[in-house]
């Protein structure tokens, strides 16, 4: 990745999701909601308005009955590593969304966000959602809010942070224990919850890490790699039809977006 020419630290956090293991159970998405105080509304079936940092997509092979196959594709933010900018960070007029070149995480600073939604348009992965309403929890459920993550207000954009607060906690701990902060790794909430252990997470720059090894697996592919966004989320699938769809938008045979 060094040939990309942008300044970067020794750490590049990335994720590998094994679609052969993923059963589409949705535990990752639920765990992400609980961890990151993602708001919900009475009706969540308008997917253009629904906020979901970890959205599970549905892909099929376009065949009929006996030959029909489908698979699930959990989609967090890709934390694109393209030179200089990710598509979203490039368009943000107020620097509300930036990539931390020290670890590769694309963050979103809510108080800076003016809600212009350029980034939503720019993101080819539909990874960003807009707060059309103030978040409101049914009265007692406010008690479930995680104090480690702030809720977002109406009018700002939000998306997967790679559970950045977990990195900070892990580093704070390492700091107090006088350990090397750049050796610290952590597991995001989605990967922790996944009951089939389909999600791996770690430093892609560390050749010994599981993610670095899996990213070189012959089954590995990335979404829309032809756009040169350089996602740091890799997928594994033994099915060629799945890997091929990695370069298409998610459309099924009926032409409607699933998910």
């Amino acid at each position: 990745m060094s040939e990309q020419g942008h300044k970067q630290g020794a750490v590049r956090f990335g994720m590998v999701i094994d679609l052969d293991k993923c059963t589409g159970c949705m535990a990752c998405s639920v765990a992400c909601q609980a961890e990151n105080n993602i708001s919900f509304r009475e009706d969540e079936s308008n997917k253009l308005r629904s906020i979901s940092w970890m959205e599970v997509f549905y892909l099929d092979n376009d065949q009929d009955y006996a030959n029909y196959q489908y698979t699930y594709l959990p989609r967090p933010c890709m934390h694109c590593d393209a030179p200089h900018h990710a598509p979203c960070t490039f368009v943000c007029p107020v620097n509300a969304t930036t990539r931390d070149e020290e670890n590769g995480i694309v963050g979103h600073i809510y108080p800076r966000c003016i809600g212009c939604r350029y980034c939503i348009v720019a993101c080819p992965y539909h990874a960003r959602d807009f707060n059309w309403w103030d978040p409101a929890w049914p009265e007692p459920m406010e008690a479930m809010l995680n104090p480690e993550v702030s809720p977002r207000m109406r009018g700002v954009v939000e998306k997967c942070t790679f559970c950045h607060h977990r990195l900070l906690k892990a580093r704070a701990k390492a700091f107090l224990e006088e350990q090397d902060l750049y050796e610290v790794t952590y597991m995001p909430a989605c990967g922790e919850a996944c009951p089939t252990k389909a999600i791996s997470f770690g430093n892609l720059n560390d050749a010994e890490s599981q993610v670095a090894k899996l990213a070189k697996d012959p089954r590995a592919f990335r979404l829309l790699s032809k756009l040169n966004t350089e996602p740091k989320v890799y997928y594994l699938s033994k099915h060629e039809w799945v890997r091929k769809q990695g370069d298409k938008h998610f459309q099924n045979s009926n032409g409607n977006k699933r998910g």
Binding site: T23, V30, D134, N146, S150, R171, L181, A189, K213
Partner: protein, 804 residues
Amino acid sequence: MKFGRRAFLQFAAGAVGGTLLSPLPWKLVDDASIWSQNWSWRPSPERGPVTRKASVCTLCDGGCGIQVRLVNKNRAISVEGNPRHPVNEGGICPLGAAGAQFLYAPYRISQPMKQSKKRGDATGFKPISWDEAVGELQKKLSNLRKAETPHTVAAITGHAHNSMQDLWQQFFTAYGSQNLFTMPSHRDSLQGAGLLALGREAPFAFDLEHASFILSFGADLVEGWGSPGRMQTLFGKWNASEAEGAAVKLVQVASRCSMTAAKADRWIPVRPGSEAALALGMAHVMVKEKLYDASFMQDHVFGFEDWTDTRGKPRQGFKSFLMAAENSLEAASQQTGLEAPRIVDLAREFAAQNHAVAVWGGSGGNLPENTYHDLVFFALNVLKGNLKPGGMLSLAATVPLGELPQIRGDETARKGLAQKSADQIGDEKPSLTGRNLYAFLSLVAQAPPYPIEILMIHEANPAYGLAGKQTFEKAVERVGWMVSFSSYMDETALLADIILPNHAALERLDDVIGLPGSPLAYYAVAAPVLPPRLNTRHTGDVLLQLARSMGGSVGEALPWKSHEEFLQERVKGLAAAEGGAVFEESPSDWGKVKVGSTPHRNYTDGAGLWKKLSAGHCWYDAPRDPLQEIRSASGKIELAFQTLDSKGWAVEKDELYLPRFALQAPSGDPKEYPLLLLPYRMSSLSYGYHPNPPFMTKTVWDFVLKGKESFVELHPGTAQSMGLKEGDRIILKTPGGEATVRVHLFPGARPEAVYMPLGLGRKGYDAYIGGKGANVNSLLDVQGDPLSGQGIAWSARAQLKRLG
């Protein structure tokens, strides 16, 4: 509770000050700034130290280890899997992960309530005190005993695998009623099958940890079969990459391309309901080509060869029955819609594999199957010799918990128990095992053998979850007084006359007896993770209080001061029993526990064991050698069910004693109702007692639920022939009822079928749950199992009519 802005800034300053020394504090500072803003909507939950408390999940019977993240030890923020627990190894299912949403659900019942208006009127519930509520129930129960009619009291419970169930049983026996029912479960039919084949009323268990070829007959393995935590964890291992180790092959037989079928190595599509016909066809091939374990059949199986019944009548055995025309390859091919050579190939492949096992049980393995079909799949495993030590199939090992005290039983109790349970009338065949909830409800609704004065409901939601139209509601109309112990204002609680709310799952002490589908003995204690939020009471404590105040032989039979003491006594008994240990090794060692291994005991007495269990560890013991567990009349595995005779079931035809294909066609004229409606399960839709929490509902696709409407799946060809397109609104009508739904074109649907998800169409609760989609249960057809008489609801005939 509100945390003032000033105090908060001090706290934040401390936190930020500490981490400012670390090189990357901006994000945290940023977060702190947001938390401290003065937006009017800003939620201000109480802050404080974050800790984790380990326990065991009781939202289903899966027995997963969990840890709950708490603020100030009293505010649950999330539920995670316990990485040290062998069942789920740190993973968790979506229901478990959303578990705290039940704790803080707006539809929780905050204190005892009494209906002041007509039943079912949500506005009629008036709060009453616990003394009044328990007092009233106690008075009514005592009066029925005084009137010598204790048998007119009935209860329906949801769980069959915990000590609460045993407490209910103890209470009912001491009180004098046989009318204790549980919600339908696959365990019901499996216990009947176990009784007939092995003389043991225990469900079968599968050593999937050591299998290399899994042939699943419609078993929804990844949707949540048996223990969902165990199955998901195993599924991840079966699909380990080559670098990570050998892969396991999964072949799925099903009419619909379910999640399991889609994730399997191979999907074998068959006609709906014909899985058992395929198994018989395979058995036919295995016998014909001598691919079965002949020496095993010879030594350990009764009824494979022809046999003689107790009256001296010669009878056909399973082997020659398999050669009969009805079990020919052609018959199997016709029933399943598969070409004969595919059946032959599959039989050969299954026979050739070393650690092959056949599993079954659709709808997450949680609903009763046709008992004959349970026995067909069992027989296929027997042909494979799978009950040998080291084989893939056995009986679930029992947990030697402390026995409950002997019930002396006074005259009143004896009289009550002498009355037949209300699910049995006249001279019908006696039920094979257990009680028959559907028969009970339909008798109560139509011609009750005696009136039901009190009906109590515990951790069950029959008004939503039972198949058939208003099965439960119609019965309740004839019930004198209905008591709900639910924590939630669910469809059933709404019909109650009085509600004595239980604590929510994470607030109360419970236990888990056995791991469904696993051959290991398993026991876990679910310690409460935080104090009860509301004015609720543990139903166990209420039962004990009732028994105490009734005194006499009822009080003696339930002598414990509290439900906690009752569980501790049981654990004391477990500690005193031989065998078993607390699992403290690395979760990866779980798979090493095999028949014959002796776990190293790591506790000395009940108190020591209790301490470890309430810290989230589980107790286990090695599986049993199934051949040692057989208690049948012949001392062998019986494939000819001579137990039927001794149960008073003498039957004429030879085949009725044998595993056979006995598909019951649903009612209705196929001309009027040309399609077959089949329910299906999604792991992101909770279909049992617990409604779908908002976190899970967010993940439901918009081609399953859109607004208030749910979708049914139709094959694109079928839809086209009916002139239907994606999203069209239709009325789906079955002989039992109708619903307005929308069409989703799904190429994985069998062309002659229409599929509908389980878990939608709840009523009431709150705006996040109620009124979303249609409830498939109410459309299904209930049929009596030909052997057990238990209600099975696998399908219904259906017609579709386009709307507008």
